[in-house]
Symmetry: C2
Subunit: 480 residues, 2 copies
């Protein structure tokens, strides 16, 4: 197993340096002030999350006909069953519980220039599944139910900036997918709006520069999933040279060339689209919604406190009771999906002709809308493969688990959406590999970061996990 | 009602001129020779299509549990039920039969330069639902079942050029949607490959220039739907000045500027994506597959010879027996969807600042994968709205039906996919409107043809009907 002391050292160094350089980059708030503010928010906003039996859920019930776990309003989301048929040689067919949420929500970040420097309005927000309570979320994080106010709660703050009639300038606006293993066809609208208004600052919000946010992305469980996906969508050209991007060493130069459209890519963009189109045509992914009761045929057990798989793998479905002081509703109960262990998301990178390339794979997950999306080189919960024959284990999983610390460029734990997942965390790694390491089969391709970024305006190209990695690795171009 | 004598006159004029100019454009086959060849193929390839009761279908049965009409192999396609919930003010919820075909097929055109001029390899192909037997189809038109040879038929000719190991140059390769009103989430791979090989010419195939194909697109029911969608995807830049494109009159100049990236567009591309993202987030489109038997609750009748709606609207499901001499299998039976009347697809265009703009709408159909796609200004079967209150009739439907001939730039009848639809035809119109005609509501937007074309490499932006129109209207830039 690798240890992550190298990357941790970088974080500590980053925190030391950032205190010195924060004022130099004209942030409205120093990092020291940020941490003080964040700690104060943590103390001020009390919350409590308790596991409860399903029978104690309020407003949620198992439908008597199907066994589906649904809300009485017919809104929010439901836990149903999905039967999947693929043409993969291993585990080609299965059924599983899945979160069904056909509504498209809004994840929006409001940005504003202070003395010419772009700042993001970030929110300290509790979600019941968060491992650590508060995390930094986007300015707005609302399901359609939320902002149509089905639950009768308070207004969603700052939502007016993301409405069509807003006077702001839209920097990005696209639908992005979420976890295909746990959600059926789920997408959210990711939007970034720049305003010139005087924006009143609520006590749970703060303005941070992109450079500051990139440093915070090196901290475990600080920037939530919704923030990461939106941050990944901010066009690199807009962020400019902010954050003391440096081109001194060959790795950083190769990284910056990869982000720009000046790098030399081994495949042109037409080739990438054709490769993905061919895979999407060849890959069979037949999804059929079934009742939650029907997934018991494939080893799932519907208990009174938990829905789980008899092999002890994959995930559980649990229920929680929540009390919180800074949410639209002060107390509620809800189901959550609880993965059995942390996931591993490792992106292998190497320099080709002076431009950094990332090895992405086209991956099909149970609930994906468009057959396959691009994701990290290794993307799995390793425990699910503990008893799987070597030829069917994910490519490079063992390589990643034994990579020397000196090759690890990024190593951080992030939480996944705490509104739907209970203590779901993934370890995000960027590992620079030997020049001779190559595509293991035709589902993998070496691409530049610019090529990945240019796919972001269109839906369902990059998984939320790859977008998380892309947001997090931007710090690699910063002199920390 | 408009009459189409102006456009018909243009076709006749085109046919006169093309005979004179075909040799000038270095086509390998003159238009006169093409028509002789096509007529000979029609005489040589006998076929017969007869309506039969469902009970006489061979290999197809109504599933005893669900009533779904399925093939014994579990492959090809099935007729099932779909329940749809939207937040539209009129007909917001309904259920209907729908074609379910989760496989992605291949629609491929092989191109080759003869004396420097790009030619497409087109096929004279019978489909059982064709109103007129033979139409010109792409080089390859194959479901995954076809080329995996589930039915044990002959090899699909020229398929090897579209495999990953082909030595050809891929000019376009993307997934494109098909009719959202009749198909659930259906897409096909649209691919164009250029070869330098000597390609042996099968008797049912011919080489045509793009200029020749554009002239044929002015003829009713000649170029089939699968050809039109692939032709729409051929990048305009690749087709070059071929076909005597002329810039003499202001309309043609505005058209050519609209196709190029030099035109001045009223909305930038970021604005278009943001507009569509906002609509996709706001529009509710909740799809739930139900059994075919369940659609009877909404007025559908399951007869022994036909499945139809008691209002006499929408479409029927019928069964046919087919005998054909030039298909992989010589005789078979199958179900088909038969629309109750021809559809109307009208694109309103106008010159804005010397660049032609098209008024597109973002439209949600029952079976769409990505909530909404861009389509023609008017896109409907007019009869479905005969008894609908004026405020809920499609915008500009009455305008189109009464437009003066002098404003009609294109008017042609094309068939929809004859392998799934029985005598399905749509009237495709391009109408140049008054300068003061504007977007009727925020679901409509003026865009340039270049902006539409630049969305084609990505899936599910343009309906198959709009792609048909775009392929057909390319002739507007030709001196005919």
């Amino acid at each position: 197993m690798i240890d992550s002391s190298g990357a941790r050292q970088a974080v500590l160094e980053a925190e030391r340096v950032e205190r010195a350089t924060a004022s130099a980059e004209d942030a409205v708030m120093s990092m020291a002030d940020f941490h003080s503010w964040f700690n104060a928010r943590t103390r001020a906003n009390t919350f409590q999350v308790d596991r409860i039996p399903f029978a104690e859920l309020s407003g949620w019930d198992f439908d008597p006909d199907t066994g589906n776990l649904v809300h009485a309003s017919g809104r929010f989301f439901s836990i149903e069953g999905l039967r999947v048929r693929t043409n993969r040689p291993w585990m080609g067919e299965w059924s599983q519980p899945i979160i069904v949420q056909p509504e498209i929500g809004v994840l929006g970040i409001l940005v504003k220039r202070f003395d010419g420097v772009l700042h993001c309005l970030m929110q300290a927000k509790m979600e019941p599944g968060n491992i650590n309570g508060l995390q930094l979320s986007p300015t707005v994080q609302a399901t359609r139910s939320n902002y149509m106010k089905v639950h009768g709660g308070a207004d969603t703050k700052y939502l007016e900036y993301f409405r069509p009639e807003s006077r702001g300038r839209v920097l990005f606006d696209g639908l992005q997918s979420e976890q295909g293993s746990w959600f059926l066809h789920k997408r959210n609208r990711n939007i970034v709006v720049e305003t010139e208004d005087d924006v009143p600052l609520d006590e749970n919000f703060c303005w941070l520069t992109l450079g500051q946010i990139r440093r915070l992305l090196l901290l475990d469980h600080m920037i939530n999933m919704d923030s990461r996906t939106v941050l990944a969508c901010i066009p690199p050209a807009l962020t400019g040279p902010q954050g003391q991007e440096a081109g001194d060493d060959p790795f950083t130069r190769a990284f910056l060339r990869s982000l720009s459209d000046h790098g030399s890519a081994v495949h042109d963009s037409g080739r990438i689209l054709s490769w993905l189109t061919e895979l999407r045509s060849r890959q069979e992914l037949v999804q059929r919604r079934v009742s939650l009761r029907q997934v018991t045929e494939d080893g799932w057990r519907l208990g009174s406190d938990v829905i789980d798989h008899r092999d002890g793998k994959y995930f559980d479905v649990v229920a929680v009771a929540v009390q919180a002081s800074n949410r639209e509703v002060a107390a509620w109960t809800q189901p959550l999906v609880a993965p059995k262990q942390a996931g591993l998301l490792a992106l292998l990178v190497k320099r080709i002709g002076g431009t950094l390339h990332a090895l992405v794979q086209a991956r099909s997950d149970a609930g994906m809308l468009n057959v396959a999306e691009l994701t990290a080189t290794v993307h799995c919960q390793p425990g699910n493969y503990a008893d799987v024959p070597a030829e069917h284990r994910p490519h490079y999983l063992d390589y990643v688990l034994t990579a020397p610390t000196s090759r690890v460029r990024l190593d951080v734990l992030h939480s996944e959406e705490g509104g739907r997942f209970y203590h779901a965390q993934n370890r995000y790694l960027v590992i620079e590999v030997e020049p001779d390491l190559d595509e293991p089969d035709d589902r993998y391709l070496w691409v530049t970061l610019h090529q990945l970024t240019s796919l972001l305006p269109h839906s369902n190209y990059l998984t939320v996990e790859l977008r998380s990695l892309m947001a997090s690795m931007r710090c690699l171009a910063q002199r920390l």
